[in-house]
Amino acid sequence: MALRTDKTRASIRIGSLATRAAKIPYRSADRHPRLTRPGGHIECRPALVPAKHKERNGRARRDRLARVAALRVIPALAVVVGTLMLTPDAFANFITPKSGGSPNANSIHSLYVIVLIVAAVVFVVVEGALIVAVFRFRAKKHPVAHQTHGNTKLEIGWTAGAAVILLILTVVTFIKLPSIVNAPNSDADGLNLTASLSTPSPPNGKKLDICIQARQYIWRYTYGAGCKTDSFFKKEPYSFTTMVVPVHTTVVLTIQSSDVIHSWWVPSLGGKVDAVPGYTTYTWFKATHIGFYHGQCAQLCGTNHAAMVAYVRVVSPQEYETWLGKQEAEITAQSDQVQQLRQILTSENQLGN
């Protein structure tokens, strides 16, 4: 055991081996045992010893703060969260996604709820264990740490447990999947349709085809057509931004984009589908009741992305027929007017060549 005294330290300081360690002023408690062993020189410096009274005051203040937190802040937070969850109108959909407009949205909702229940259990158990560990094993209450390196059985157990939970969720997802992906038949009181099998179809083939064409920054809907190239010449009725559909009728949407990527999404009527230029994508919904739904483009599509809203107005089949007729008549009338104007301008030679 080779021990050095203060004198030797001074000599180190004065000597050519000036070190950063030596430049630091040492307090009286900051003197250390030193070890020399055959293998080499190894030293250890314990931490500085703090001033006792200071720490005690700090602790008292901390405890007081903790008590205040427990008595005031936590109940206040509970009240806020409780209010958020119980106030239905202003705070709709605090913990579950929108649904209620169409069976696929409802199926996604119920799948979500199953995942939520499993997740809530996992959350409570794991966060609970963390909180208990942090409060129970503070150095003050639990001065001696239990020296363990692991527990193979326990570790295999929780690995397998996590895998089993995820396996269950997989099975549930695939059980639910058909009701989300496959379009069902229209109800008896829905719009009267003839069958066609050009696009994904319900079992009896009867559906209302609507072509959605997305472009910066508006949605165009062509009714009764699956985005066929001749729909323009056939003068199929169309509308912008607001889609009008009959209730209880299976609507199959064929989605295209003519510029950048957009994403069709009306939350209450089902999940989102990207509109990718060069690709055609499909989805469906079957409105369960008359109503008005808000949606908007979900993929950043440029400057006016936020303004690219989509509305769906669900009406009775009769009203739909009337609206469609009116829309058709208006479009024809306007295109006739344009035609006339063009003829006049051409005859007056104002359009140039």
Partner: protein, 570 residues
């Protein structure tokens, strides 16, 4: 309380652990920094630079949150908002989180494995300066037209037809520069870890932070060439007449999505695995017990790295892909939840029955675990692809990845900062200020992002610059904005703490925490050559072994936990 008697004969003077060679200074101080190849100086430059970018990204985030605080706000125009969201995402990912780990890695990798520098010191300096260049190129766009197609820059929006400005090209240039920087750094890390470990430091005695850096390096080497190829293809699309991603001439925008996310998802693990490593270092030190299941954690790290390359299409569940593909990516995303869960369980088990010293570093670590559990669980929701059809591209996703990345990266960076600052500067950060900072950040973070789950569930898509009243979004947005300012105050407190402690902090000494790993064997800050003599490593916790040996040979046995008895120095 450590038993240290006041007798000067029993307590001899500390031996100098490594000698700093003080040569007469020939150059100016700043020239020293610019020309340095010392891994510690480079590490500090990394940390300072990425810290600056973190603040810039944070200010951009606050501007966006302020714009969204009330409906129909006109504070920012939609152009500016789109630029801000692109700047924020790109800055945080490419200029903060990835390089900040390179910073910690540079400083501590050689120290923790007992090496005197990195394997390639000049390459190391080059990776830093390339990063700085990338940042300058990117932020120079502020003077003409910042990019505005988002940090993943989906074509056709990022093609020249829709984003004609040079900002998009600057973005591509940034990806290239930071990419090369990270790639060189990763190769350097890999070579250093494989070749320069202390005698006796076999693979199962490698500190877990080093394990995570090894996997970080491997993932960077796998993922970066793919994104480099993708952005080069975008560049040639924009300027040289190719049409890889242009649908009008039979290119495919979905091809970009595959290439980008094949990089983008490993990138997530690149960003959080070193954070996991920090946690695996901090928890055992402040629990005063060994890490629970060392092998399981190291194995989980490598399994995560493997699976990380198989989950990319879960970012594309709403894209045109067959159902069977969606099913595969749901399963692989579930699978990656298992090793991640294992890590969380192991950390909690390490805390369990420990003797917790509640330092700021440990608080940030615990905050990370609490936050990351939520991020992990919401990840399961998003992996279920039918549910993702509702949640993808909404604020639910924004909340999810901030829970993962703020928790996994920012909170762990702060934990690492409070843990290692004394080693880097020789002075401790102020603990009460640090704890205040933690609580502001923790409360502010949850206030900001927890309600964003509800926003997404209520149908608010991400990346919109404003919204109409009456959609049920206004209150949530206001809460979120208030939370973001609380979070900002928390970050500010740490910045003040860092600045203040440089001159006023308590002197730390070489080993203020009684750490486990070799960096605590050197003086604080370590001299240029790190170690005069590298001790032989006999376990995962070489410093603990050394302390035990000191006790045995000096006969000074401490009360309670023996060598693990801990005195807090605040």
């Amino acid at each position: 309380m450590a038993t240290i008697t006041s007798d000067a004969v029993v307590r001899p003077v500390p031996q100098v652990l490594a000698h700093d060679v003080i040569a007469p200074r020939k150059t100016k101080r700043w020239v020293d920094w610019v020309l340095t190849t010392d891994h510690k100086k480079i590490g500090i430059m990394y940390l300072v630079l990425t810290g600056v970018f973190f603040c810039m990204g944070g200010v951009e985030a606050l501007m966006m949150r302020t714009q969204l605080s009330v409906p129909n706000n006109t504070l920012l125009t939609s152009e500016h908002y789109n630029q801000l969201l692109t700047l924020h995402g790109t800055t945080m990912i490419f200029l903060f989180v990835v390089p900040v780990w390179a910073g910690f890695g540079n400083y501590f990798l050689p120290l923790m494995i007992g090496a005197r520098d990195m394997a390639f010191p000049r390459l190391n300096a080059m990776s830093f300066w390339l990063l700085a260049l990338g940042g300058i190129v990117f932020y120079a766009t502020l003077f003409f037209h910042p990019p505005d197609a988002g940090w993943w820059s989906y074509p056709p929006l990022s093609e020249s037809l829709y984003s004609p400005s040079g900002g998009q090209d600057a973005w591509i240039f940034l990806i290239h520069l930071t990419g090369i920087s990270s790639l060189l750094g990763a190769i350097n890390f890999y070579v250093t870890i494989v070749n320069m470990r202390a005698p006796g430091m076999s693979w199962n005695r490698l500190p877990l932070f080093i394990w995570s850096l090894l996997v970080y390096a491997i993932l960077l080497i796998i993922a970066l060439p793919v994104v480099a190829a993708a952005v080069t293809m975008l560049l040639t699309d924009r300027h040289f007449g190719t049409h890889f991603f242009q649908p009008t001439v039979h290119g495919s925008p979905v091809l970009w999505q595959h290439l980008f996310w094949f990089f983008g998802h490993p990138e997530v693990y690149i960003m959080i695995l070193p954070g996991f490593g920090v946690v695996s270092e901090v928890i055992p030190v402040f629990s005063r017990k060994p890490i629970f299941g060392y092998k399981a954690i190291a194995a989980a790290t490598t399994v995560i790295a493997f699976l990380a390359t198989l989950v990319w299409a879960h970012h594309m569940f709403a894209s045109p892909l067959p159902i069977v593909v969606l099913g595969f990516f749901m399963l692989s995303s579930f699978l990656i939840g298992v090793p991640t869960g294992v890590k969380i369980f192991n950390w909690i088990a390490t805390l369990w029955r420990g003797s917790l010293v509640m330092t700021t570093a440990l608080w940030f670590t615990i905050g990370f675990i609490a936050i990351f559990i939520i991020g992990g669980i919401t990840g399961i929701f998003l992996a279920v692809f039918p549910v993702d059809w509702q949640l993808n591209d909404t604020y639910f996703v924004v909340a999810h990845f901030h829970y993962v990345l703020m928790g996994g990266a920012v909170f762990t960076v702060f934990a690492g900062l409070y843990y290692w600052y004394p080693k880097m500067t020789g002075r401790l950060l102020n603990e009460p200020l640090g704890k205040a900072s933690f609580w502001f950040m923790f409360v502010g973070f949850n206030a900001t992002f927890f309600v964003q789950h509800a926003l997404g569930l209520s149908g608010m898509p991400r990346r919109i610059y404003t919204y109409q009243p009456g959609l049920g979004w206004s209150t949530y947005n206001l809460i979120s904005t208030i939370g973001s300012y609380i979070l900002g105050v928390g970050v500010l407190l740490t910045i003040v703490n860092i600045y203040r402690s440089l001159t006023k902090g308590q002197i730390a000494g070489p080993d203020p925490w009684k750490g486990n790993t070799l960096e605590w064997f050197t003086p604080s800050p370590p001299p240029v050559n790190n170690f005069d003599e590298v001790p032989r490593v006999r376990s995962v916790e070489p410093m603990r072994d050394i302390r035990r040996q000191v006790e045995r040979q000096t006969g000074v046995i401490q009360k309670g936990g023996g060598s693990e008895q801990f005195v807090r120095s605040s």
